[in-house]
Amino acid sequence: MTEKTNNGRQNIYKPAIMKIVDKRDEAPGVKTLRLEFLDPLDHEMFRLHYRTGMFGLYGIFGEGESTFCVASPETRKEYIECTFRQSGRVTSSLANSEIGDLVTYRGPYGNRFPIEEFYGKNLLFIAGGIALPPTRSVIWSCLDQREKFGKVTIVYGARTVADLVYKHELEEWQNRSDIDLVLTVDPGGESPDWQHHVGFVPTVLEEAAPSPDNCIAVLCGPPIMIKFTLISLRKLGFQEENVYTTLENRMKCGVGKCGRCNVGSVYICKEGPVFTAAEVSKMPQSDL
């Protein structure tokens, strides 16, 4: 088997083993794990193949594997960070693991954000709730080479103040003069000392009114937020070709064989998870 086609593995279903080197609580039920490869060869393959937007299958033997994005950027390949909500068997088991424990990883799989095509452009990142992790991977990939991009605006909202993830990074972005950070929580989700917006992401976005000129938007969030935010982006004058998003579906193999993640003819695991809004609107909407 060639390295190029199988990520250097003879058996594509055999996971790499990774060690948890850091663990953070982000929000109620949401955790971030920082993982390091045990086998230098696995690490080398990851370095070779990983680009922002790609995903992995994280697991615990005895429980199974779960699919989520690589939340760390392509500019930092020493480790993998993943952020997930504890909801099923695998994520509960991962959430209960401690620093020093071993987990399994397969990937990176899927396509990527074409970051080179964003050079010289303004960037607008919009995320809702637990969808900041995939966006954050792109954000840091761009911030780590900040000089290549124009204005950077980040609009991030969650249901409540407690549900905002990466709070330490939000603070860091807040303090940078080269980023416009717009934070919001849903009405009723604010705390007494909340200094930022109260309102849904689409409304707050329209108020912030970023210019569509020479601008790429990256939008990740729950389906209902995406739906209404796309309407707002259209109102602001954004073309669907300039709006990027990620899709997710249940997966087992991650490599286009197990048959479950397709939306219409499009396999999210191979042709995605990154799509432009124009591509998504061509898919059969009732299959999403």
Partner: protein, 337 residues
């Protein structure tokens, strides 16, 4: 020169293949189910049946197979791989529809990432196929633009000769060369009339169906609800389908040691696509049946230029509520015209 394998030479033939290191696997009847299993002598073979109940798929992609044994320690996780045994095999007496189905699934298991379990077995297996001279009411290979003697996926083709005394032997691929050479001395070069292949009538118009399926408007058609209303979601059609390839991984054991297995799964099952959140993109039986038909006749051909169906008809033959691909495509043919 016509080369004939006489029926009474079949035992010699199997002996020679065994001597050359091949396992010989053929159709057998066991507990009223016909399927492919290893044979020692010709009398164990059931060559009269038109089509086995079970497909040859399970010889390449077993219903369940262990992939790894894992043992979890504090400092390391030890994984021991179970790979296919690596023995040369001859599948004797598969039908063209089953042999074609294996070739149809090759690109799927090989696009970009290669599935070792599938390809190791494919590479070590010689398909000796018998062309069909009989068919039943469910056979539909001709509707799929295949035929009762399609060479696709076969390494050696046998065509029955008149009077049932044997088969005309034709080598089709390099992979079949060694198996052919081993038995060449047994072949009889007497002239014999080949029996005509089965006459399988066309049951639907594939081009019309594919055109209808390609129209995005029909994705939302009420047709899907009507055609699938009887479907009980049992998955029989997918398990008996030679081209259906969907699978699941399951761990048997605990978080200290156990086995990760690859198991057949089915797009008929609601859990197949259910998210942890409870959201299910294919939440109804009709959306799941639509997926099955669209996958076979629109998505798969769009990617691999072949229909994901070889026309064996098992889906209709064995469906407990009398629906299947044939009925659906017949209805589409009617609707579209």
């Amino acid at each position: 020169m016509i080369q004939i394998l006489l029926r009474d030479k079949l035992d010699d033939c199997i002996t020679r293949w065994h001597a050359a290191g091949y396992d010989v696997i053929g159709p057998q009847k066991n507990n009223n189910v016909t399927r492919f299993a290893p044979v020692e002598k010709a009398s164990e073979l059931d060559l009269e049946i038109i089509l086995t109940d079970r497909t040859v798929k399970e010889l390449f992609f077993p219903q369940t197979e262990p992939m790894f044994r894992y043992r979890i320690g504090k400092q390391a996780i030890d994984t021991e791989e179970y790979l296919p045994p690596g023995r040369k095999r001859i599948i004797f007496g598969s039908r063209p529809c089953d042999a074609s189905a294996m070739a149809i699934d090759d690109p799927l298991f090989g696009w970009d990432f290669k599935d070792t379990y599938w390809f190791q077995r494919r590479n070590e297996t010689v398909m000796v196929t018998i062309a069909c001279t009989e068919s039943d009411d469910f056979c539909m290979c001709t509707s799929l633009k295949l035929a009762p003697d399609s060479p696709l996926g076969s390494d050696i083709m046998l065509r029955p000769v008149a009077g049932g005394k044997g088969w005309h032997v034709e080598l089709l691929s390099e992979r079949g060369r060694e198996a052919f050479d081993r038995i060449e001395a047994l072949l009889d070069d007497s002239a014999a009339e080949k029996e005509p292949i089965a006459n399988v009538p066309k049951r639907f118009d594939l081009d019309v169906c594919r055109e209808w399926l390609a129209d995005p408007e029909n994705f939302e058609s009420h047709f899907w609800k009507e055609i699938s209303i009887r479907c009980i979601g049992c998955g029989t059609c997918t398990f008996l389908c030679p081209t259906c390839h969907c699978f699941d991984f399951q761990d048997e054991g605990d978080t200290y040691s156990g086995i990760r297995r690859k198991n057949w799964d089915s797009c008929s099952f609601a859990l197949f696509t259910m998210h942890t959140s409870g959201h299910n993109p294919r939440s109804t039986q009709s959306s799941r049946w639509r997926q099955r038909i669209m996958h076979k006749f629109n998505y798969f051909p769009g990617k691999f230029s072949m229909n994901s169906c070889s026309g064996c008809g098992r889906c209709s033959r064995q469906c407990p509520v009398d629906m299947g691909i044939t009925e659906t495509l017949q209805e589409i043919t009617k609707t579209a015209k």
